[in-house]
Amino acid sequence: MVTAINDDLFSPEVVNNPYPYFSHLREEDPVHWNKLYELWVVSTYEDLVWVTRRPEFFSSEVWKRDPRSPYPAIDESDMGLYQEIRDFFSDWFIQHDRPEHLEMRKVVHGYFTPKAMELWRPMVLAAVKELMDEAQESGRMDVMNDFAVPLPLLVIARMMDMPNQDRKFIRSLAEKLLFLGRGETDRMQPLSDGIKGLQEYLSPIVAERIKNPGNDLLSVLANGEKTGIYSRDEVIANAILLLLAGHETTINLICNGTFAFMRHPAQWQSFTEDPAGRVVRATEECLRYDAPVRSIQRIASEDIELKGKAIHKDDRMRWFISSANRDSNMFPEPNKFDIARYPNPHVAFGSGIHHCLGSALARLEGQEALKALAERFAGLYLEIREDDGEFQPSITFRSIKSLPVSWR
C-alpha cells in the first residue's frame, strides 16, 4: 500500500525543500503517476538516465505533441495565447527529435565545446572582478541581484555581441519567460509578452547579422538560415532560447551554490583555504546538491513499461534532476554537501543527446564566481535565517528569490 503522496508539485512544501518529498517518492513509488497534473514523475537516478538516453521512446517534442491541456490549468480565455506560445516553443531546437535535433544542434554545438569556452575565461574573470569590486565598496550584497544576475547576462550578451546598455531590457523580458515553469492560472500573458518583446528586439539584429555576419554566437546561429537548417522564425526563437538558457541556469548555480555553502560553514571554511585547488569539485557538488534546473519533460512516443508501470503513447514523462541527484543508490550520503565528493556523476545537465549545450560555459562561470567569493569574502554570512530562503514556485527552475549576504 502506497502512503499518500502530495501531487501538488507547486505546493510550498515541495517548492522550498523538495528533497524529503522526493526521497519519499523514490522509496514508495519511483515511477509515479501524478493524478493531479496527469504526468509520470520519474525520480530515481537509474530511471532518469534510462529515459534520457532513449530518445526513441521519449520524444522531446513536448509542446507540439502534448495532447492534454496545460498543467496546472490556465484561464479559459487564454487558450488562444496558449496555442501561440505552443507554436513558439516548438521552434526551439531542444523541442525536436532526431534527425532534426542533431542538424539544429550542430549549428551551435561547436561554439560551446569545452576548449572553445576556455577562451572566454579571462573575460569572465574580468567581469567577476568588476562585480566583486562594486560589492566590496558597498559592504554587502544581494548575491542574486548584484552578482548572479549581472554576470551570466553580461557574458551571454557579449557572446551574442549585444549592446551593453540593452542588458536590463533583455533581463526584464527574460524574466517573463520564466513563467514557463510556473503554476499561476494567468501565466500565459507574461509568457506571451516576453516572447513578443524579445522577438521584436531580436528581429532587426538577426536580419543585420545575416547581412553582415561576425564571429559572434548570434551570427553563428543565423548562419543556420543560410544553410537551410533554420527558418527566420526558428533563428529568432533559438536566439531567445540561448539568451534565456545562457543566463537563468547559471544564476541559479551561483545562488544555490552560495546558499549551500552558507548553510555548511565547515565546507565553506575548507573551500576558502584553497579556492583555486578545490573549486572544480566544489562546483560539481553545488550542481548536484541543489541543481539549477529541477525537472524536464518528455512525451512517450510509444507504449512502454518502466519499473512495472505501463506508460502509454503520448503520456507526459517528467524527470526530476533534484531527485536523481540525491539518490542513495548512486551517491553515498546523498544529503551531505561534500565539496570533495568524487566521482560525482550528477545529472544537473541532463544526459544523452539532449545533454546541456552550455554545460562548459556554466561550469566556467560557476567556478569563477564561487572562487572569487571565497577569495574575496572568506567571512561571508547570510543576512537571513537559512530557513527563510524562499524559492520561485517553478517546477523547471530552482531559483531563490533573493540572497542577501554580508561579510566580516
Partner: protein, 74 residues
C-alpha cells in the same frame, strides 16, 4: 601510412551525448548503456577523430599516438 591512435573514453564522465559518433561515424558507437565506445580505432582519419574528441561536451575522450604515447587530445 597514417599513425595508429589509442583512443579512450572515460565512462565515468561520458553522458551519451553521441557527438563523437556523429563526427567520427566509423570510430565510435554507443554501447548498450548508451555510452560511447571505440568500435574501430582505425575507422576514421586522425583529423576526424580529433574533431570528435574536441566536440565531446564533457571532455571524456583522450587520443594518444599508439606507438609513442604522445597525447594528441586534450
Amino acid at each position: 601510412m597514417a599513425r595508429k591512435l589509442k583512443i579512450t573514453v572515460d565512462l565515468n564522465v561520458c553522458v551519451g551525448n553521441a557527438m563523437c559518433e556523429t563526427f567520427a561515424t566509423n570510430t565510435f558507437a554507443l554501447n548498450d548503456d548508451r555510452q560511447s565506445s571505440v568500435a574501430n580505432p582505425d575507422g576514421d582519419t586522425e583529423d576526424v577523430v580529433l574533431e570528435a574528441a574536441e566536440n565531446c561536451p564533457v571532455s571524456a575522450i583522450t587520443v594518444l599516438d599508439a606507438e609513442t604515447g604522445e597525447q594528441l587530445f586534450p
